[in-house]
Symmetry: C2
Subunit: 361 residues, 2 copies
């Protein structure tokens, strides 16, 4: 088998975990999976081994996150932490990282993965990845789709096509489907022919390069310029000049939805996109009363609450007679919101932005 | 008129304002009246002027609160801050303070006042006090009773008797009534013959001394020993030896309920006993949405909440979609409780005590 590299997309800003998440400390750099102190990014890198070792991991992030990202994954060579001068969505990110890997190893197999998801069954995850990589090895760009467990309207779906010969369990991708309405999502769940698109892609480096040339020629030539300068004296200068001019487009819209012969491997490994404090509560191993509490928190006559104290001097947090709340405390901020409104954290972020309180954003 | 002295009872422990109140920082040392940073004790002393000036104020507190109390009322002579070696309820407190004042000025008039209440109309308060003092000057031990505004079951009541001749508005005290049940409290409110007992007493020093001799002779002789030693080399020693042996009894039970010829002056001056966070919310000048917020707090879709940030590094507090909550944050603790359960703060204090967390009590 060719060598396998991983591209971890870690450029997310993420305001849904305010006040824990900040522009300088986005979701992937937070320990949001239960009791563990491990950041989501560190967990993403760790669980790839032994399939992909740290020396073959490429992390793509934003310039302002370079140091924090390097600190979170100390085993990843610093030269493999690529820093985008400006956010340009996923297609430039993946094209650039793929070009970088192809330069190191033209025959490389590449796994592209988000940096900010949670996976409960890591062994099964690696088994599915191994199948997806074998599928990719045969020249098909392959994705892993998550077997739905609820009629979710917040995700895109992948419609399954005909099975593909071989032992990878892969099927053809019939089509990508935008976020559905509730009724459609329920049909998808019942029909068992649709999977969640979790943003995981597997390919030979040269296959992706060809797809980018064909579907996003502008991106391809821009990345070629950046890659040609890489390692040279003017690498930073070229990157800074060219990257912000690349077309800002997602890999889904820009490449996947136009490509043919794609494969998808279904995955069932306790995937969670850690989309809000609600997810953090689900992952937080709630106690008998349904409370997921930080150490030092006391809950009396209180059910189904999430309490997170992230400040340095850990506080005693006391809840009396409150249910279904999210209470998150940091050094400089405190949030109280019902769990079911967890998505509305953005309202606070917007209000603070409008009030010029960038110091706490 | 004889000189007027005030005895401020400031020995309260008070757990109902946890986490703001601590054993080392009880209620009277907290700024609980609205936006002001003034402690309840400081407000108590301030609003007596010009009726009673600071140099004639005696504050009785506990030994462990000596420095904090002195700091809260810097205008009160340090020699007039009396520190009880052990809490022995109000009768020993008042008897000792009265003996101390009588030594300075045998003809003194004394006003005994709690240190931890709020009064909205301070001018009217002083007018009522002046009437009560004139009543006391004639040799009647006098109290001020608060005209009830609701059928409160948490206070003792004073039943009004016949009017007393003169222009003080005083009436005889028919009797003291223990905390009533709801139906009785409603009768009291409708009948207009009962006032709330707010623990304010007015008397000539020698009248109180006589009452104590008659009704609590043991207390009288103990206080005489302490007073005889006062100012001498062994004052502290005698205080420490004798005070803890004094009978622990309230002035109401020990003296007032047994005394004859008591007078009461009705008071209507926006009195509030600041009994819980609920009271703090009422006094906190809630905004249009009913929220009383600390500076830097943001409330979205949220009504009738109290937010107090008492830590040094004032936090941004964000509420989204929550109603009728009390949120109080200090350097080392955070409380979230519905307003209507504010009295249940003691449950937390009990739980923390049981868990050995005296560091936050």
């Amino acid at each position: 088998m060719p060598k396998v590299y991983a591209v971890i997309m870690a450029g997310g800003a993420g305001t849904r975990f305010w006040p824990a998440s900040r522009s300088s400390r986005p979701k992937q750099l937070l320990p949001l999976a239960g009791e563990s102190e491990e950041t989501l990014l560190a967990a993403t890198v760790r669980r790839l081994a032994p399939l992909v070792t740290e020396d073959r991991v490429v992390v793509v992030t934003g310039e302002h996150l370079a140091d924090a990202t390097a600190k979170a994954v100390p085993g990843v060579p610093r030269s493999q932490i690529l820093c985008e001068p400006a956010p340009r969505n996923t297609a430039p990110c993946i094209a650039w990282a793929t070009a970088t890997i192809a330069r190191l190893d033209p025959d490389a197999l590449v796994a592209v993965l988000p940096s900010d998801h949670f996976i409960a069954d890591e062994e099964e995850f690696r088994r599915v990845l191994a199948r997806a990589l074998r599928s990719a090895e045969s020249g098909r760009v392959t994705t892993v789709g998550i077997v739905p467990t609820r009629p979710e309207t917040g995700y895109g779906y992948i419609e399954l096509g005909e099975p593909i010969e071989g032992d990878t369990g892969a099927k053809r991708v019939a089509r990508f489907v935008e976020k559905p309405d509730r009724a459609t999502a329920e049909q998808f769940l019942a029909g068992k022919r649709h999977l969640w698109n979790a943003g995981m892609f597997f390919f030979r480096a040269r296959d992706m390069a060809e797809l980018v040339v064909r579907h996003l020629p502008e991106l391809s030539s821009g990345v070629a310029k950046i890659d040609a300068a890489a390692g040279g004296a003017n690498a930073a200068e070229v990157l800074k000049a060219v990257f912000p001019t690349l077309p800002s487009v997602s890999i889904d819209h820009g490449v996947m939805e136009k490509a043919e012969g794609l494969a998808v491997v279904p995955g069932e490994f306790g995937w969670n996109d850690v989309g809000s404090w609600q997810s953090a509560w689900e992952l937080g191993a709630p106690d008998e009363a349904g409370n997921s509490l930080s150490a030092g928190a006391v809950a009396i006559d209180s059910k189904n609450n999430l309490v997170r104290t992230l400040g340095k001097g850990k506080k005693v947090v006391a809840l009396v007679g409150v249910n279904d709340l999210v209470v998150v405390e940091t050094e400089d901020a405190l949030l109280v919101i019902p769990r079911e409104r967890a998505q509305d954290v953005r309202l606070i972020v917007d209000a603070l932005k409008a009030a010029g309180r960038t110091d706490v954003l």
